[in-house]
């Protein structure tokens, strides 16, 4: 307490210098904590965004299906699809994995329709449970028209690309669709484009995924599947970065229990988005490193100034019995207190900023940021990052003033007393 009191007095004496150290530490901690949480959020966000998943979105499907670009060629005969037993077993197993945030069963197929502009147009059909449509991991929602009802037959929800950009389909009108039946043949059916689906966070101008969505139960009834068959089970990782260890575990389980099935990730986009996240992470880390380096250098410089100004005081302290380590401790403690106080304020300010951003969401339309975080991105706290930032700034607070403090402790008593 006596030392602490002495430190506080000395910090008060060098008020402008203390304020600069406080400000540097504040800024450093603020930006570091903010960046660390944002990068963490972005990495996780990658996982639960449809279409941009960095392996965070994976498929369990039949081994013979080619999935190079994930728009695979699917069989439609019952024996070639995943049976209800297989679907249930896979979903149950996936649900037991802590890294998996959700699962869906789907029928994915290629189809044709006769739209407004074109005579004939191919599309990627996705039949899925519409009750789960607004779940976070689907990343899609109705932008126009009326949501599909569960079990509804003869209706579809075209993507934004189909109903708005290309204007091939008009919401509320019926069109002729060629859809597969259970024998693998394509059959003409009249389908009502009931509701239009927008991709919540994808840059629609840059990626024109022309999918058309159907309710799974309604689609099964429409094409004549009496059994609850599916062409794939989709799984979502809460953090895409876990894919490296989770996917092999799933595959190992499939090899043992369901040898006909395999697990694949969204290979098409994985490298692109992995690189974007990595690049962003590296950029943020570089900024953090520069900030920390500036923080350390300024603290070293300012502590050195303090020591030079207080040469005579060091001599006096040494003469009355302070050891070299006592003097070192004194200056280190002073630097530590200034940095720790500034960093604590910066940390709290960053926490406040994240809380505000979480409440309001980050709204943006820029393509890059739309890729990275989507519109309405809500950053959150990550306990691991609290430890990282506190640990880093504790180390900075101890180490930055240590070198000049050691130099101060080593000064000759005679020389320092002569400096008055």
């Amino acid at each position: 307490m006596e030392r602490l009191s002495l430190c506080l007095r000395n910090l008060g004496r060098h008020a402008w210098r203390t304020r600069i150290i406080l400000l540097i530490a504040l800024l450093g901690a603020f930006l570091t904590f903010l960046f660390e949480n944002l990068v963490e959020d972005i990495s996780r966000k990658q996982s639960d965004m449809f279409g941009r998943a960095f392996s965070g979105h994976f498929l369990v499907l039949e081994k013979d299906i080619e999935t190079k670009n994930s728009f695979g060629f699917y069989f439609y005969k019952p024996e070639q699809m995943l049976s209800p037993g297989e679907v249930d077993a896979v979903r149950m197993f996936l649900a037991s994995l802590p890294e998996v945030s959700g699962t869906q069963e789907r029928i994915v197929f290629s189809g044709l329709y006769y739209g407004t502009k074109d005579a004939e147009r191919g599309f990627r059909g996705v039949a899925m449970d519409m009750k789960e449509f607004n779940r976070n991991f689907t990343d899609i929602y109705y932008a126009s028209g009326v949501p599909l009802q569960s079990g509804e037959q003869g209706t579809c929800a075209p993507s934004w690309y189909e109903y708005s950009r290309e204007k091939n389909l008009e919401i509320g009108k019926s069109y002729v669709f060629l859809l597969p039946n259970r024998e693998g043949e394509f059959v003409d059916r009249s389908i009502l484009a009931k509701g239009g689906i927008d991709y919540r966070s994808m840059p629609k101008d840059a990626i024109g995924l022309s999918s058309i969505f159907f309710d799974l139960a309604g689609f099964r009834a429409l094409v004549g599947y009496q059994e609850p068959l599916a062409s794939e089970v989709v799984g979502f990782l809460s953090d895409a970065r876990t894919s490296g260890r989770v996917l092999p575990r799933i595959q190992a389980w499939l090899d043992t229990r369901e040898p006909r099935l395999k697990v694949v990730s969204w290979r098409e986009y994985a490298p692109i988005f992995a690189e974007i996240v990595l690049g962003f992470d590296v950029a943020m880390k570089a900024v953090e490193t520069i900030l920390l380096a500036i923080c350390v250098l300024l603290v070293v410089k300012l502590t050195t100034f303090s020591i030079i100004e207080r040469y005579s005081e060091i001599g006096t302290l040494r003469a009355i019995g302070f050891s070299r380590s006592d003097v070192t401790l004194q200056f280190t403690l002073e630097g530590f207190l200034a940095i720790a106080a500034g960093a604590a304020v910066g940390f709290l300010m960053a926490a406040g900023a994240i809380a505000v951003l979480h409440a309001t969401g980050v709204h943006n339309k820029a393509i890059f940021w739309s890729y990275m975080i989507g519109d309405g991105f809500r950053p959150s706290f990550h306990s691991g990052k609290i430890l990282v930032v506190v640990g880093v700034f504790f180390a900075v607070a101890v180490l930055a003033p240590l070198f000049p403090a050691i130099q101060g402790g080593r000064l000759s008593i005679l020389r320092t007393l002569e400096k008055r």
Binding site: E2, S5, R9, T316
Partner: protein, 229 residues
């Protein structure tokens, strides 16, 4: 020269400094005994080696050759840790320009050396400080900062700081040089009183004949040699 029990013995003490290519002999073969509890003045003109002598006894400087024994122990041969302990427990320093910490008030300045005395309770430390501040007549100025005090009052604070650890020896380098003659006399009287009452050994330097009059013993230095002791 045999070491004096409980006193200070300097044997063949030399101190040389290099100033460029010139060697300055600050002290030359000084042999000296100072008995415990004495009130000794080291006198001499400027550059005679007074401060160097005090610095060597106070372990602020190291001799080129020779030994310094305090209570029979060769203090210059002590390792760094024990040298620090010696300064903290055995010695008290009074400087010509007071060397008070400007951010601390009277109480805190006097209390400063006691930070290192972990064997004392906070209450015991407080009592010691109050006792010393009263002893130097600054009881009414306990919360004053150094800039709020006169030169004489500052030197009294420095004396209290030097004595608060109950040292055996107090080294005072020109303690009255920055004070007017009246205040200087008051400070010397205070030091004499403490020497008489507590038996603390005082060794102070001065070139002022009026200051020398107060000393029980005057050691005269000239060009680094003892002229008279």
């Amino acid at each position: 020269m045999a070491a004096v029990r409980n006193g200070i013995t300097l044997t063949g003490l030399c101190k040389e400094y290099r100033l460029g290519k010139t060697t300055v002999r600050a002290l030359q073969n000084v042999d000296l005994e100072i008995t415990s509890g004495s009130f000794t003045c080291v006198a001499g003109p400027s550059g005679s080696g007074k401060t160097t002598l005090l610095n060597l006894i106070g372990l602020i400087d190291t001799p080129t050759s020779g030994t310094v024994h305090v209570a029979g122990e060769d203090i210059q041969g002590l390792p760094e840790k024990l040298r620090t302990r010696y300064r903290s427990r055995t010695l008290g320093f009074i400087f010509q320009s007071f060397n008070l910490l400007p951010v601390l008030d009277v109480f805190e300045n006097v209390h400063l050396p006691l930070i290192l005395h972990r064997e004392l309770t906070p209450l015991a430390k407080k009592q010691r400080v109050l006792e010393m501040v009263e002893a130097v007549g600054l009881g009414d100025h306990i919360r004053h900062k150094p800039f709020e005090l006169s030169g004489g009052q500052r030197q009294r604070v420095a004396i209290a700081r030097a004595l608060v650890t109950h040292p055996l020896i107090v080294l005072a380098d020109e303690p009255t040089a920055n004070l007017d003659s009246e205040t200087g006399a008051e400070v010397l009287a205070l030091m004499e009183g403490i020497n008489r009452d507590r038996g603390t050994t005082f060794i102070f330097s001065s070139h002022d004949p009026r200051v020398m009059e107060h000393a029980a013993r005057v050691i005269r230095l000239h060009d680094g040699r003892i002229e008279a002791a």
